[in-house]
Symmetry: C2
Subunit: 191 residues, 2 copies
């Protein structure tokens, strides 16, 4: 966090995610990092290289997968934990996500990395719902449930991110637990 390269990368991530690749100048990044523009080029050679290095810094945590190995098999509690962790991951990576949204014109392998996480996450979710169906807790189609859960969670995150200026009286945390409660009740079998 203290080295020159780190300072530059941090500044780059902030600015790229705010404005997008093209709109940010190297001079700007250097200034934000509190460093001479020359130093930037000495360390990263060129702008695009800096971008790639900045990207490599952020990886979706695989720790997340461990979550699925410590399930309680209680629908509401499990979903709440999953949902919360997912929101954490998204929040931690929000800069890179924004960066991606503003720079998707280039770098296809960039795209692949970003899509790897949600698709793996979906598979984990589907397995979970499959197991819950085997246990007779739910009846719905696991795949559909997984996609729906994934999409809505992403929506919660994204709404709170993009529409932060909307003065809603409800915060994300309340929204999450409320959503999970409704979702749980909505898919639970009852006699």
């Amino acid at each position: 966090m203290c080295t020159t390269e780190d300072k530059i990368i941090d500044a780059a991530i902030v600015l790229f995610s705010q404005k997008g690749y093209t709109a940010v100048t190297t001079k700007e990044i250097a200034k934000e990092a509190g460093v001479s523009e020359m130093t930037l080029f000495r360390h990263f050679e060129n702008k695009h290289n800096l971008f790639e290095r900045a990207f490599d810094r952020f990886v979706f945590t695989p720790k997340f997968i461990a979550l699925f190995e410590n399930l309680e098999w209680n629908l509401e509690r499990d979903l709440f934990n999953i949902c919360s962790s997912y929101q954490d991951v998204l929040k931690k990576n929000q800069k890179i996500i924004l960066m991606h949204l503003k720079n998707d014109e280039f770098n296809p392998q960039f795209e692949k990395m970003l899509l790897k996480f949600p698709s793996e996450f979906k598979n984990l979710l589907r397995s979970y719902f499959e197991e819950m169906r085997n246990r007779g807790v739910i009846v719905e189609n696991p795949e559909t449930l997984a996609v729906s859960f994934l999409a809505t969670n992403f929506g919660l995150f994204f709404t709170s991110l993009v529409m932060s200026k909307l003065t809603f009286n409800t915060d994300l945390q309340t929204c999450i637990s409320n959503y999970v409660k409704i979702f749980t009740k909505g898919i639970s079998l009852q006699k």
Copy 2:
């Protein structure tokens, strides 16, 4: 759709929403519109002006509000209609939404226009849920429900938009009706 200005504006919207304001050149827009760059400047004076004109073209339909005057007061059916119409509005305006995501560095009044729609929509939703609570159909807090419903809907849209490359086996339509069904069951009172 046939005038020169329209051709240019259309091209501008496509390119701006794909790449963002800064990354697109006037030459590029002119080429995409099948028109000389000079003609572009003759009509719009400068790039920023073209951007504003392009923005003005897209407005969130107020027709949407009429939907809330023809309610059936059947939870699932109403929500499904609302949800579908909302997805339509979002889809119709997806270019402008993307444009906004890539250009939010400037133009604050731009932001206001974009946020007007979701906040009005949320109020309509809250009124609906309030009335449903009065009728004894649901018990949850109307505000929270409205925000949750809004957020998740936006998430469905956005997921299908951004992550279109994810090869999920479930399409948006299925996802919506499934979500509405679950949501309805989740908030309905039952004996």
